[in-house]
């Protein structure tokens, strides 16, 4: 971090400029944070949205033990030792999470899972994993958010509610943002919202298209057919709740815009049809490139979930759901994804890094997690930490710890921490576990080969 951006204003306060808020995938990097050094608190978070304000202003380092083993306070060293023992003895450990931590920690985590021969999956699988699978089927046409800000004159939000989940999306990137070819902001754009219900995002739209629940795929498919000049079945309105005229109007707008964008949310990726819904919207955007420049891009929730995709991809070749049991990476969503492995009862241990599956996985998965030794790294007490054998308290990325996070469009940003923490970073803890597991595995290997020799001799 360069010194120029950190200025001491008074004796007991300092300001950190250009800090990044890691709450959601927008990863806004224009925070101006005022820190009361003595009170160890952030007192102002200029430019932050309601979620960002909550993140920074309510940040308080809880006075928690460095580690909990079976719910009892323990030292960090004891926590690391217990974690290492669990991982060394596991045959099919599941590593999950990674959305709320730095790429540096993610990189170490993949190294650890590679060494122990476990399976790794990120929170991608519960948000836009299906979009990743769709990419593998049909490709995508996408862009960084600045290109959208500068050029997009038709913006379609489909199956997502950024007003609540990504509060600055409109102002920074796509609706009221001022861009090179969109100097008059919203006046230079047409905004469309497609959803099964009216949400807080609906009012920004010039056109709201209400699709029947469960009919997104049919609507997208009909739009693709119309774009290609094919007919669609006459009962399409009955099926989708959207009239043919509305569809044709939208198709004309899409074909005639200068730069169009389809933003989509979990209303597509997590409803019936999942990866095919995502493939349908990606294909629609690709089809439209016969007529104009068009892109489609998912709206992603967690701060650095994109970073997890990136790191796992560059280290293994696959974005998520990667298994190392055989000493090399294997990919198969449905087989090596975390909820499957827990709910099916496959995993015999787990390491959860910066995520809380104990609150958002199915009860089946949670019930299995309770049966096996789980390790959790998190700054806070979570549902998962409560069911874990080992819970290690770590510092908060972005606030206490620097490092890299990837915005949902793949732009990497260096975080600027503003507060020190007594707790170690995720990266440090994972490194410590790695080191200890490495020793234990070497010892195990030695005993094993000695035993084999003895057996052979006998």
């Amino acid at each position: 971090m360069s010194a120029a951006t950190e200025t001491k204003t008074e004796a007991n306060t300092k300001t950190v400029e250009n800090a990044t808020c890691t709450f959601c995938g927008c990863l806004c990097d224009d925070m101006v944070l005022t820190v009361d050094v003595d009170a160890h608190k952030i007192t102002k978070a200029k430019n932050a949205c309601v979620l960002g304000k909550a993140l920074f202003l309510s940040h308080e380092e809880e006075d928690r033990p460095f580690a909990l083993i079976d719910g009892k306070p323990a030292t960090l060293k004891e926590g690391v030792e217990e974690a290492a023992q669990i991982l060394t003895n596991a045959r099919f450990p599941m590593f999950y999470g990674m959305s709320d931590t730095t790429c540096e920690a993610q990189r170490q985590n993949v190294a650890l899972v590679d060494m122990v021969g476990g399976t790794i999956d990120s929170t991608t699988s519960v948000c836009h994993g299906p979009t990743g699978m769709a990419l593998q089927g049909v490709g995508e046409s996408t862009a960084t958010l600045g290109e959208i800000k500068n050029r997009a004159d038709l913006v379609i939000y489909w199956g997502g509610n950024p007003a609540e989940s990504l509060p600055r999306h409109f102002a920074r990137y796509a609706v009221t943002a001022k861009g090179m070819y969109t100097p008059r902001r919203k006046k230079d754009r047409t905004i469309v919202n497609v959803d099964v219900r009216r949400t807080k995002s609906t009012p920004v739209a010039d056109i709201f298209i209400q699709v029947k629940i469960g009919a997104d795929f049919e609507l997208l498919w009909a739009l693709r057919a119309l774009v290609k000049g094919r007919k669609v079945a006459p009962d399409i309105e009955k099926r989708t709740g959207v009239s043919l005229e509305t569809m044709q109007d939208l198709v004309e707008r899409m074909k005639n815009c200068r730069y169009g964008v389809l933003f989509f949310g979990m209303g597509l990726s997590m409803t019936r049809g999942r990866h095919f819904n995502a493939a349908a919207i990606l294909s629609l955007a690709s089809d439209l490139n016969e007529y104009t420049h068009f892109i489609a891009t998912p709206m992603r929730g967690h701060g650095n979930v994109s970073g997890a995709d990136m790191v796992v991809s560059w280290q293994t070749g696959y974005p998520f759901a990667v298994n190392f049991s055989r000493g090399y990476p294997k990919f198969n969503p449905g087989e090596f994804t975390a909820t499957d492995m827990f709910a099916r009862g496959d995993a015999d241990a787990g390491l959860i890094l910066a995520a809380d599956p104990g609150s958002n996985f199915s009860q089946y998965a949670i019930d299995h997690m309770k049966k096996i030794p789980m390790i959790v790294l998190d700054p806070k007490l979570t549902h998962t930490a409560k069911l874990a054998k080992v819970a290690i308290t770590t510092s908060h990325y972005g606030i206490n710890t620097g490092g890299t996070a990837y915005r949902s469009d793949g732009v990497p940003i260096e975080l600027r921490p503003c507060l020190e923490s007594k707790y170690p970073s995720d990266e440090e803890v994972i490194r410590a576990i790695y080191k200890r597991v490495e020793q234990l595995l070497k010892a195990k290997k030695k005993t094993k080969s000695a035993n084999n020799k003895r057996r052979k001799a006998a």
Partner: protein, 269 residues
């Protein structure tokens, strides 16, 4: 007398068992077979660690016990036969090119992915992705047949290019999605969005199905080839009704988003 593998103990985590395959075991004595590798999670063990090995290796393998956690049985199998007395785990018959696998109970997800020949019969239910391509693959099954007596899940025959898949019960969503050619027959009811993006090939169902808006009704007729297929399936033990063999079918053509050369034949009651 065939080779018999009797499960001694249940694995604590799934086992990758591609060694359990006639191509691998043929010509080996019992001791050699017991020494073949299995992968119990990240630990390499042997066939003998989990199974009592008896009989003689003559191209036929019988698996006894609850083998529902054994994956990849019959991987790349080209000949011989595997008889599975219980249920079987994922990827049974993956990349199979010949021979026969018979599962007496249920099969998990990925039955016969990317197979090119041979036959898999599942007497119970099968999971998702029967006869499909793995993610990213542009071509799925290129030959052979898969017959499931019970129900099956989503994406049956995803991007298949040739061969036959028959489901005695119901199938899940996206049956025959992205088919390039080949035949999928579902005696029961299909789920949503069948044949999406199919280029060529045939999907048959004996129950009503809602077609995608990009399929068009063409005609009703009595397809000759289907009689042959149905008789063949009757011989294979599926409960084929005479009415289906002699009956008329609604022919839908699609998917107009792709080549529009595929067809869905829905039995006309």
């Amino acid at each position: 007398m065939s080779l018999k593998l009797t499960l001694k103990k249940k694995p604590s985590v799934p086992v990758e068992a591609e060694s359990i395959c006639p191509d691998v075991m043929e010509g080996l004595d019992l001791k050699q077979i017991a020494a073949l590798p299995l992968h119990h999670g990240n630990e390499q063990v042997t066939v003998g660690d989990f199974f009592k090995v008896t009989g003689k290796s003559n191209g036929e393998i019988r698996l006894e016990g609850d083998t529902s956690r054994f994956k990849m049985v019959g991987d790349s199998m080209s000949r011989g036969r595997i008889l599975i007395k219980g249920s079987i785990g994922q990827h049974v018959g993956v990349h199979m090119s010949g021979g026969e696998i018979i599962v007496a109970k249920n099969a998990s997800d990925w039955v016969g992915p990317e197979m090119s020949g041979g036959r898999i019969i599942v007497k119970g239910n099968a999971g998702h992705m029967v006869g499909c391509a793995y993610r990213g693959g542009q071509v799925g099954v290129t030959g052979g047949e898969i017959i499931v007596h019970g129900n099956a899940g989503n994406e049956i025959g995803n991007t298949m290019r040739d061969g036959l898949i028959a489901i005695g019960g119901n199938s899940g969503d996206f049956t025959g999605v992205g088919m390039l050619a080949g035949t999928v027959i579902v005696l029961g009811k299909m789920g949503w969005r069948n044949g999406a993006a199919m280029k060529r090939g045939t999907i048959v169902s004996m129950e009503d199905a809602e077609m995608l808006p990009t399929f068009t009704y063409a005609c009703s007729y009595r397809p000759n080839f289907l009689r042959l297929y149905l008789r063949h399936l009757r011989d294979a033990g599926l409960p084929i009704k005479d009415a289906w063999i002699n009956g008329s079918y609604h022919r839908w053509s699609g998917d107009s988003i792709a080549l529009n050369r595929g067809e869905a034949l829905i039995f006309d009651r």
